[in-house]
């Protein structure tokens, strides 16, 4: 490994430190919260919009959290078109799941669960697949279980809907102990509040 690469690594490190140390995390206040140009949800309590510190995030993915992303995280995507991913690959040789045209229902569920796995969660499993609603549109709704790399049990719920060839995804993840159940009512309200922009 050349000295030049290590210099680059050091610079990247310092930049990373600056991002984590210096970034101001905006609040997503009570009320309507716009997810791109397509739709909005209504928040009943203030969330933190940690999207900005998701460096190299796909532009269409927003991340909200109440107590920090380790304790609860809510991913909301704007309309994904074929070829889009929810998790940006760290390298070309390590691709992440991409949304594709004409996915079957099981492939849409697979896209979400594999995207969660690509976030370094282990043993990701889906349960309780059921009909859901994305505003006026039909959606697939299901629950998730997983573990962090350190072994913490996580629970989650997810929704994916295809509207006019675009996929809209919502994923909520939190530790199974206390945090998941504590925020589920708020998350259900958020899901029920989805309103496409006209």
């Amino acid at each position: 490994m050349s000295l030049r690469i290590f210099k680059s690594a050091l610079i990247a490190t310092l930049m990373g430190l600056c991002v984590t140390a210096c970034a101001v995390i905006p609040e997503a206040p009570v009320g309507p919260y716009s997810v791109g140009k397509s739709y909005q949800v209504t928040l009943a309590q203030p969330w933190n919009d940690v999207s900005l510190i998701m460096n190299a995030r796909p532009a269409k993915v927003r991340l909200l959290s109440l107590d920090g992303p380790l304790l609860n995280r809510l991913y909301l995507t704007d309309g994904l078109v074929p070829g889009d991913f929810m998790v940006k690959p760290a390298a070309k040789e390590r691709p992440t799941p991409v949304y594709r045209k004409a996915m079957s229902a099981s492939e849409r569920v697979e896209f979400v669960s594999d995207s969660v796995a690509a976030l370094d969660y282990r043993n990701v499993e889906t349960t309780g697949l059921r009909p859901g609603k994305f505003g006026p549109h039909s959606a697939l709704r299901f629950d998730l279980t997983a573990q962090t790399a350190e072994g913490l049990n996580m629970s989650g719920t997810a929704l994916i809907s295809e509207v006019d060839g675009k996929a809209y995804v919502l994923i909520f993840l939190a530790p199974s102990e206390h945090f998941y159940a504590a925020q589920m009512a708020e998350v259900e309200n958020i899901i029920a509040s989805i309103r496409p922009k006209t």
Binding site: A90, S104, F142
Partner: protein, 426 residues
């Protein structure tokens, strides 16, 4: 550290490896090429004792990892192979099987060995696994870790110092984020840094490993041979890795020698394979029947995990490599329902030109065997429906529901069948 191909160590382990430089070498008992005395413990306040403490920590991480496979049959099996290869160290070597799709094994100075499922999936027989374990046991028996530590310290090279600096800074980032995972997925900058850190540290750590690796190849082969494993399997392990690299979907991976890139200290090449082939000359040949029986015996051990490990392998999304692994596994003529199903999965997920038709054929092949997962019929139905073949779609869906009456997607399949009936005027 020895047998790593494209692995993904956690930052914690990277830090532990980096921590090797913190030891003090003056009073260690073990010297270069000195075989470890069974039961030998490092003297206190030595560099070796420091190394053991660090590796004890790494072992605890492995032990508590959600990736750890605790199945008593499998862990007992690999532990028994280890004892067969190294009866003198049987009581002090502890093998942990981790469900991770990369081809990797490693032996730590304190006697803990990691064996990853990606390696177990790719080994063709107990003979190949015996060579890999023999290789790792050699690192332990010949105290390679402490040699490497001392070599790195003596060199005091800039790269190593820089990599440590990067590592320490990165740990601060991770600490700031709350955990390695937080660094990894909520702040992607940290993830990129972690990668650089990992590569930087391993590169520094492996600077002197070329000699050790050659020793481990040769002595590992001898050890495997003495324990009754076929020594000719050794070269085959490397051959498989080279072939798998060539089968990659990614040109950059195809163009690199196996074990190269950052691990350029000792790429797996034809010279290394030739050395192993030469060393195995003179061994009593195994008959084809014996070889086949050994493959079958090994498959019986890993059969309960085939599905989970193949599903993991698919998540690497290097479908060319996964398909090659499936082809190899299929050549035994067993588990064809499972293997054809995952062939279909790989092709369906890749979706290159013609892949969906091939996927459909693979699911159809799977459906001929009793061990095919029920999802083979569902996916067959999905593909048939996509092609407008409603007769096949309906038949496949019905079979799926018959085999998995409580499937969580039953309501979707029922709706699809109803829609097809309505469209057909039934």
């Amino acid at each position: 550290m020895s047998f790593k191909i494209k692995n993904h160590l956690s930052l914690g382990v990277v830090a532990m490896l980096a921590g090797l430089s913190l030891g003090h070498g003056a009073h260690a008992a073990a010297g270069p090429h000195t075989l470890r005395v069974p039961g030998q413990m490092p003297a206190s306040r030595t560099d070796e004792a420091s190394l053991w403490t660090i590796m004890d920590g790494a072992e605890q991480v492995a032990k508590a990892s959600p990736d750890r496979i605790k199945d008593p049959a499998l862990t007992g099996y690999v532990q028994s192979l280890t004892c067969r290869l190294a009866p003198e160290y049987c009581k002090e070597l502890r093998v942990y099987v981790l469900q991770r799709p990369a081809f990797n094994a490693s032996a730590a100075a304190n006697g803990y060995i990691e064996l990853w499922s990606g390696l177990l999936l790719r080994a063709d027989s107990e003979d190949e696994l015996g060579f890999v374990l023999g290789h790792e046991i050699t690192h332990y028996a010949e105290n390679h870790a402490i040699e490497t530590q001392r070599a790195a310290k003596l060199r005091s090279n800039v790269k190593f110092a820089l990599s440590l600096a990067v590592n320490w800074t990165g740990q601060a980032v991770a600490a700031n984020a709350g955990s390695v995972q937080a660094a990894n997925d909520s702040v992607h900058t940290a993830s990129a840094i972690k990668e650089l850190l990992y590569l930087g540290n391993i590169a520094a750590y492996l600077q002197y490993s070329r000699v050790n690796e050659t020793e481990a190849d040769q002595a590992g082969l001898e050890r495997a041979s003495l324990a009754g494993f076929d020594p000719r399997a050794a070269a085959g392990v490397w051959r498989k890795l080279i072939d798998e690299n060539q089968a990659s979907d990614f040109p950059s991976r195809r163009n690199e020698p196996v074990g190269s890139s950052i691990f350029s200290t000792h790429p797996i090449n034809s010279a290394r394979m030739l050395a192993l082939t030469k060393a195995a000359q003179g061994a009593v040949p195994t008959t084809p029947e014996q070889a086949q029986e050994r493959r079958r015996a090994y498959r019986r051990q890993i059969r309960p995990f085939l599905s989970a490990w193949l599903a993991d392998d698919l998540r690497r999304r290097d479908y060319g490599q996964t398909l090659l692994v499936i082809d190899r596994l299929s050549s035994l003529g067993e588990d064809l329902g499972v293997l054809n199903f995952y062939r279909g999965e790989a092709l369906r997920q890749r979706r290159s030109d013609g892949d969906l038709a091939k996927a459909r054929a693979a699911y159809l092949s799977a459906s001929l065997y009793g061990d095919a997962p029920s999802q083979a019929w569902r996916n067959l139905g999905d593909l048939a429906l996509r092609d407008g073949n409603t007769a096949m779609a309906q038949s496949a869906y019905m079979t799926y529901l018959g085999r998995a009456p409580n499937a969580q997607d039953r309501w979707i399949i029922d709706a699809a069948i109803r829609a097809m009936n309505t469209a057909a005027g039934r």
